[in-house]
């Protein structure tokens, strides 16, 4: 570990709290909130991909479940959105446990295509069951109600500001849970089975069970991220579960450094900001985005944070 858990959390907390001092307009709160939501999903992937060494190309599927739980449950079941978030977590966890059991036996690209298939199935259901989901045009999401509650208590915040803080706090909790996990029996076992499944099993690690736990945990992270996105956007379409979104969060994780939570957050920061910055390139945007991804991976092949850390270490 680079630094202890509390140092990492403290740096993160200070950054989240201090950055708004530099914000010139409400738009930056929106970007901040998006970064936090992405970082949350990516943190889940760090546990699955970075520690347990299992690939997923369909994790946006769980984000989709979380998002649509927040859209559907309040409308059809009359549940409060907060309860809907929890419902989304439960459904995602249950589904992850159900499909994880058979597909986690697969390795490498075969696991990749299986998870890809899962993501596509979720997208197809969301797209085709238009009576429920509004189809490809999407559907509205009920308001969380917390902001209104605050207003009644005399605290007035704009939507952007509210979601900045809400997502920031959820990310801090998510990072705290993940960092706890890293240095626990479970986290160590996950990293161990990544190193050698055979050796891990000979010291008593139940490899399939732990892989499944990592899969379920990362699914829940993605689900919460999806819920937060849906609630702050107030509107949701099946894109949230789509293949491109899955690839996006994997890319964030790898770009930042898939082994560490802070690296993953860094990856989310960069890939969320980049498209906003690249708008100055207008039609060259895609070109530059592709080139940046290639260059980072060539010059910092282990991801931004680990590669930079290794360089600093080499030059004392």
């Amino acid at each position: 570990m680079l630094t202890s858990k509390w140092v990492q959390l403290a740096v993160l907390a200070v950054l989240i709290a201090a950055l708004p001092l530099l914000f010139p307009s409400g738009y930056y709160y929106r970007i901040g909130a998006l970064i936090f939501v992405n970082a949350l999903a990516v943190t889940g992937l760090v546990i699955l991909v970075g520690w347990a060494g299992q690939i997923s190309l369909g994790h946006a599927g769980f984000a989709g479940i979380g998002a649509y739980a927040c859209a559907l449950a309040p409308e059809h079941l009359g549940l409060h959105p907060v309860v809907a978030i929890v419902l989304g977590m439960v459904i995602s966890a249950g589904l992850a446990a159900l499909i994880g059991k058979p597909i986690l036996r697969l390795k490498g690209y075969y696991l990749g295509v299986a998870t890809l298939g899962f993501g596509i199935l979720v997208t197809m259901v969301l797209t085709n069951e238009r009576i429920w989901t509004g189809g490809p045009d999407g559907m509205s999401v009920a308001k969380l109600g917390l902001r209104e509650l605050l207003r009644d208590m005399g605290v007035r915040v704009s939507g952007g500001v509210f979601w900045y803080w809400a997502c920031g706090i959820v990310l801090l909790i998510g990072a705290w849970l993940a960092l706890n996990l890293y240095n626990s029996a479970t986290g160590r076992a996950l990293r161990a089975l990544h190193g050698s499944e055979v050796a891990a099993s000979t010291i008593g690690i139940d490899v399939p069970r732990l892989k499944l736990q990592a899969f379920v945990i990362s699914a829940v992270y993605a689900s919460v991220a999806g819920s937060l996105l849906a609630l702050q956007n107030g509107f949701i379409t099946p894109d949230v579960a789509g293949f491109m979104h899955s690839i996006e969060i994997v890319t964030m994780a790898v770009l930042g450094g898939v082994g560490s939570v802070v690296g993953a957050i860094l990856g989310a920061v960069i890939l969320t900001l980049l498209p906003q910055v690249l708008t100055v390139f207008a039609e060259y945007e895609q070109l530059v985005l592709g080139a940046v991804m290639i260059l980072v991976m060539i010059f910092l092949p282990r991801g931004l944070l680990p590669s930079i850390a290794a360089r600093l270490k080499r030059k004392p």
Partner: protein
């Protein structure tokens, strides 16, 4: 370090955009991505028209500054760009939302922040229920269905088959058509779909052709799907009238489907497609031919209905801003709602407190492809 650099970059961009006092207009369009079909001509149209307007002295002497973002068809991005337009770029009005999904993501925000917003997407739900600040230019999907069914009814058709794209456009129109079919005594006996990237629809068309009693086939969709459907239709030798939607109303469609396969296909279109053959006394003749000529000259590609939506949105906005005589969003909105008899490429717009679309079926024209070109049949 990277973060601070990018933040500085954003701040600089912000400073640059607030340095002048002009009329700032924002747009978020799907210039790339799966809906680039819609967004690309829309973006090109807006850029062309703004340039043209400023060259002619702008609005009440003020230049219009267009800030245009490409949301790639992703509603989440559209919402972010809308936030950026309102909060950071300080625009007084927004055009955009090429798709219903991106429109809905923007509409909520624009309405909440009190920024007039004209959408270029089809769904009824955008303007029904009416939201104070949200308007739109294209005909609704439901109106397209009604136009087609009216023509079918005139032909004595009562039983049809449908094959729809599962993209937003196709799925939305599929649902609307099923909804209103009963009003025209039309039964949908076969209801098939295809994915946006599919290359062969013969299985679906075979099933439709093998369904008893079908008298015509309707294909709501846009992009490559309808071209493939039309070609497969000819390949299978299905001898029933084929109706396409306004989603394919461009010359590109005839080229992609092949003139032979497309022969006889009917669809509801706008004056734009038949600008050249409109009678001289047609009220839309002038606006349609002018835009068509300018666009094809500038963009080097055939004009499409979608570019026309952007043209009309811009015309509405300019008209409202001129009448409002201020850059206050509320004034612009009020002027927009007071629009009356504005002639666009899509139709003649008259907004009211209860109608933020302002078009009726009369602007829709039933077109038929004859000898590789368009001809009006009513």
């Amino acid at each position: 370090m990277k973060t601070t650099m990018t933040l500085t970059g954003l701040t600089l961009a912000l400073l640059a955009s607030t340095a002048h006092a002009e009329l700032r207009l924002g747009a978020s369009l799907s210039a790339t991505g799966p809906a680039a079909f819609l967004g690309d001509p829309e973006a090109k149209t807006l850029e062309m028209l703004v340039e043209e307007l400023n060259a002619n002295g702008g609005i009440n002497g003020e230049d219009v500054v267009l800030t245009l973002y490409d949301d790639g068809g992703d509603p989440n991005k559209a919402r972010t760009f809308a936030t950026r337009l309102i909060e950071d770029d300080g625009v007084v009005a927004i055009i955009g939302g090429s798709t219903t999904g991106t429109t809905m993501a923007i509409a909520d925000l624009a309405d909440g922040e009190g920024i007039p917003f004209i959408s270029l997407a089809g769904a009824v739900s955008i303007i029904d229920p009416v939201r104070e600040f949200v308007f739109k230019t294209p005909h609704t999907d439901r109106m397209a269905c009604e136009k087609i069914f009216t023509d079918m009814q005139a032909q004595g058709t009562t039983v049809i088959g449908m094959i729809s794209g599962t993209d937003g456009f196709g799925a939305s129109m599929q649902a609307q058509c099923k909804d209103v079919a009963g009003d025209y005594d039309i039964t949908i006996a076969a209801d098939e779909t295809y994915g946006p990237g599919d290359a062969d629809m013969t299985p679906q068309l075979t099933n439709i052709a093998n369904t008893d009693g079908i008298q015509a086939v309707l294909n709501p969709g846009f992009g490559q799907g309808p071209a493939v459907v039309t070609r497969n239709y000819a390949q299978l030798g299905i001898d029933l009238p084929l109706y396409q939607s306004h989603g394919v109303a461009s010359n590109g469609f005839i080229e992609l489907a092949g003139a032979d396969a497309a022969e006889g296909v009917r669809l509801p279109g706008t004056a734009l497609l038949i600008a050249d053959i409109l009678p001289d006394d047609d009220p839309q003749k002038e606006v349609a031919t002018t835009y068509k000529a300018a666009f094809e000259e500038q963009a080097g590609q055939p004009v499409s209905t979608f570019g026309g939506y952007a043209h009309d949105a811009f015309a509405l906005m300019v008209d409202a801003m001129t009448r409002a005589g201020s850059d206050d969003p509320q004034d612009i909105r009020d002027a927009l709602e007071a629009t009356s008899g504005l002639i666009g490429t899509t139709g003649t717009y008259t907004f009211s407190e209860t109608d933020h679309l302002g078009l009726d079926l009369s602007a829709f024209r039933m077109l038929e492809i004859v000898d590789g070109g368009w001809s009006a049949i009513d």
